[in-house]
Symmetry: C2
Subunit: 202 residues, 2 copies
DNA sequence: TTTTATACTTAACAGTGTTAAGTGAAATAA
DNA sequence: TTATTTCACTTAACACTGTTAAGTATAAAA
């Protein structure tokens, strides 16, 4: 355990410091409104130092999103474990998804609504990413419902994508259009979930 | 009809020229990737000239979106006129909405997905805007279905918002995540519409 | 003690939206 | 017809942005 290990530890420490600073700013003010120079100022390093730890601004964001979406998937997996009825589990899972989006709007924004630059979702939902893990979990939930004959449709992949679209639709609209004259939030989300679960039921 | 009128006509002409240039660039390359200087270059004026005709870049975009969304609403109104069955009309209207989004992805993007700057949708769905006109038309369609007792739910406003969210969900995801392994597009959209119309039916 | 590698910074590039100040021509008033 | 004012437009600049090439100390290794 010479100085080699110590330096590596210090490197990891600074990496986390950058990540923490960036997360706080991104969540508070939104990705587009935070500059690399602001992040650098917060950690009291020069802006270029960040580039020694992350490829670019988008990469910084991606790492943060991965962290956050790992948490979302954990939440959804916990629900599945403690809920025996597959339809009920799916309902509660969707509710958790939407709530998560509303709880971390800027995280949701950057991961699912408008990714920055030319990367257009390529990295955010690539094979093995946390976002993909969440999607796969959703599909498992749908599969359960189909297997037990609770749904009239049998195309698991298509249903999963439709269900995701519903959840995403309500979450993203509530986030991006806060001034729109929405009906009661909770009622709207529950109605939404109710509509498509009964639409899918036998 | 002195020179006063001629100048006013010329002003309106240049205004349209700017609008046309901006629309072409925005649609082709996306709002974020088009600079005011590029637009100015295209019309062969200095960048500052644009500011004599439009408040800022976002305003330029807003005017374009209004134009485009007027067309969408026209399309949807035509469908309602020629389609007697209210549920069928709603279905076809939603289909038109999603298709429209996929046909003009950059228009849809800037109007419904990520509006630029701090204006966050305030202007895009304000009272009397074309976007609002489209929403109101959708609500009328839903109201028709409820009135004729075709839907089990009766909260017109809530259903409208849920239906909108569904359509928006599928449109926005298909637009922003083109690399995702989607099932067949048309099948997915039709399934989506089928799920929530049967979920709403008595 | 010299050399090499590491960590970080300075200065700059090429771009952004936007504005204050200035110019030249056309329309109006004298 | 000449002087004045109005209008359309441009130049130059401001205050930013993400990003990189080059340079500088400091710590580790030879």
């Amino acid at each position: 355990m010479g100085p080699r290990q110590r330096r590596e530890r210090e490197r990891e420490q600074l990496r986390q410091e950058i990540l923490d600073a960036a997360r706080e700013l991104f969540v508070k003010e939104g990705y587009e409104n935070v500059s690399m120079r602001r992040i650098a100022e917060k950690i009291e390093y020069s802006p270029t130092t960040i580039y020694l730890y992350f490829q670019d601004k988008a990469d910084l964001l991606f790492q943060i999103c991965e962290e956050t979406f790992a948490k979302l998937t954990d939440e959804m997996e916990a629900i599945t474990r403690e809920c025996k009825d597959p339809v009920e589990a799916l309902k509660r899972g969707c509710r958790a998804y939407v709530d998560f989006g509303l709880r971390y709007p800027n995280h949701y924004r950057v991961t699912f609504i408008n990714h920055p630059g030319r990367l257009e979702g390529q990295p955010y939902l690539r094979e093995g990413s946390q976002g993909m893990r969440a999607y796969n979990h959703l599909r498992q939930g749908v599969e359960e419902c189909v297997k037990e004959g609770r749904f009239r449709e049998t195309d698991v992949e298509a249903i999963t994508q439709a269900v995701w679209a519903s959840g995403h639709g309500i979450a993203s609209l509530l986030i991006t259009k806060p001034d729109f004259p929405w009906v009661n939030r909770d009622k709207l989300i529950d109605l939404m979930i109710d509509i498509y679960t009964s639409g899918l039921s036998v």
